[in-house]
């Protein structure tokens, strides 16, 4: 083992083993699943039934309890995808490639959810289904970035090449996201000086933001669950000819 590898902690190398990752994810899954269910159900009930109405928008504002967590999650998911891709690229770690691959469709669906809830929220607030609001536009571009990664991955037949190429693209996208965000924000102030966005308001009472926080954590747990399930499937698929996967299948 060469010199530059020694300082990495041991678990990092265990992660490199598909089997170890498969098993550890199997152990973590139930915990996250329970947490996600409890948080999401609890958060939804609190948000829809008990959180106070907004003084301007009434009940329609409650969609932020879905919109905001999905918007936050869509962005972190892209970051995770790029970081996992980079790890796969640098250390030739198969499991990281699989995580990155699993991130893309989940992230794209969450971005679509954020866009859809944003559009539904826009109808009562702005009176139209779509407004070129800075946040929505940035989210739309983020969705395009996801779709680009997915398209590139599916166009390349060799699994290893596809993973490396998508990782490069995801990293380029990651560098660009702040630039895109800045330029879109700036463009938006130029064209729509008086846009009103609820989430930017500084003072949100605790009865409103606590359920929001719960929903955000719940979304993250849900994301962890679906990511681990997808990655586990991917591991099984890619390692299907190895002895431990065969044993696993025979046991069932």
């Amino acid at each position: 083992m060469s010199e530059n590898k020694k300082w990495m902690p041991r678990w990092f190398y265990q992660l490199a083993s598909p089997r170890w990752s498969y098993e550890i994810m199997g152990k973590l899954l139930p915990g996250f699943a329970v947490a996600a269910t409890l948080l999401l159900i609890g958060g939804i009930i609190w948000a829809l039934a008990f959180a106070p109405e907004d003084y301007q928008q009434g009940n329609s504002f409650r969609i932020i309890y879905i919109h905001v967590p999905s918007a936050i999650l869509a962005q972190s998911c892209y970051m995770l995808m790029a970081v996992a891709g980079a790890i796969g690229l640098i250390w030739k770690m198969k499991v990281a490639d699989m995580v990155a691959k699993s991130c893309a469709p989940i992230g794209a669906s969450i971005a679509i959810l954020a866009l859809a809830t944003g559009a539904i929220w826009g109808k009562p607030t702005w009176g139209s289904w779509w407004v070129w609001d800075a946040r929505l536009t940035s989210m739309l571009i983020l969705l395009f970035l996801y779709l680009g990664v997915i398209a590139l991955h599916s166009a390349i037949e060799s699994e290893a090449t596809a993973a490396q190429s998508s990782a490069v693209l995801a990293l380029v996208g990651l560098v660009n996201i702040p630039i895109i965000k800045y330029s879109v924000d700036w463009w938006n102030t130029l064209h729509q000086p008086a846009t009103f966005t609820l989430t930017e308001r500084p003072a949100m009472p605790a009865e409103m933001w606590v359920p929001l926080l719960i929903m955000v954590i719940g979304f993250y747990c849900f994301f962890a669950v679906s990511l681990m399930m997808r990655t586990r499937n991917e591991i099984l698929h890619r390692e299907r000819r190895s002895s431990w996967v065969r044993e696993l299948i025979e046991k069932r």
Partner: protein
């Protein structure tokens, strides 16, 4: 230069490569010493080209270790590239450039080479008089000769040649074989694939991928 003859130039350890769900080679280990000519054999699809691409550094879809003069290849890649000549499936000749322009570009890419010997090299592969015509007007064999002219320009120690004799006539093949032998005698190494019966057959070490794949 005889003293370096037995020195290991290139070392391959536990090479594993799979392509399209099929294992091409597994636990493949061998050495190439200075002055050695190695011919890689195997059926179509046995991974000859893949192996040469891995050795050249073009392909990184493999597991295992490669060493150049005892050092891990990744650590000495620049030095390795300076001492490598790779002749691949595609000859690396631009159709709309002339043979001379093609070689001039190649020399610019490899700072160790001498631009003043281009005319000489083209003469040796039988292309004198064709220096200034675009390569797309030349035959397939002549195009490959343009690429083979690099062998006369190069100072590289290791030559990796993938089917160098395809579309080359008998006289040309004999000349190239002599060139390869001269290179080996000077302490250089050659690893090649070919479907030709080599006249220098007895001086060549054979590496059969069909046998090495085992299973």
């Amino acid at each position: 230069m005889g003293k370096g003859l037995s020195k290991t130039l290139f070392q391959v350890e536990n090479l594993f490569c799979e392509r399209d769900e099929r294992i091409l080679f597994e636990d493949l280990s061998f050495n190439i010493s200075s002055g050695e000519i190695v011919q890689v054999e195997g059926q179509n699809g046995s991974g000859k080209t893949t192996l040469l691409r891995i050795l050249s550094g073009l392909s990184n879809n493999f597991e295992g270790d490669l060493y150049w003069q005892g050092e891990p290849l990744a650590d000495v890649r620049d030095d390795y590239k300076r001492q490598l000549l790779y002749f691949g499936h595609h000859p690396g000749v631009k159709a709309i450039l002339s043979p001379e322009e093609n070689l001039r570009w190649y020399v610019a890419m490899h700072p160790g080479m001498r631009a003043n010997s281009i005319a000489d090299a083209l003469d040796k592969v039988g292309l004198s008089g064709f220096e200034d015509v675009p390569c797309h007007t030349l035959s397939a064999g002549q195009n490959r000769r343009v690429s083979l002219a690099r062998l006369y320009l190069s100072n590289a120690r290791l030559w990796i040649l993938d089917e160098p004799f395809t579309a080359i006539d008998k006289k040309g093949v004999a000349e190239k074989e002599q060139l390869i032998l001269d290179h080996a005698n000077k302490g250089g190494s050659v690893i090649l694939t070919t479907h030709h019966e080599l006249a220098m057959g007895d001086k060549v070490r054979r590496l059969n991928l069909d046998e090495m794949a085992g299973t």
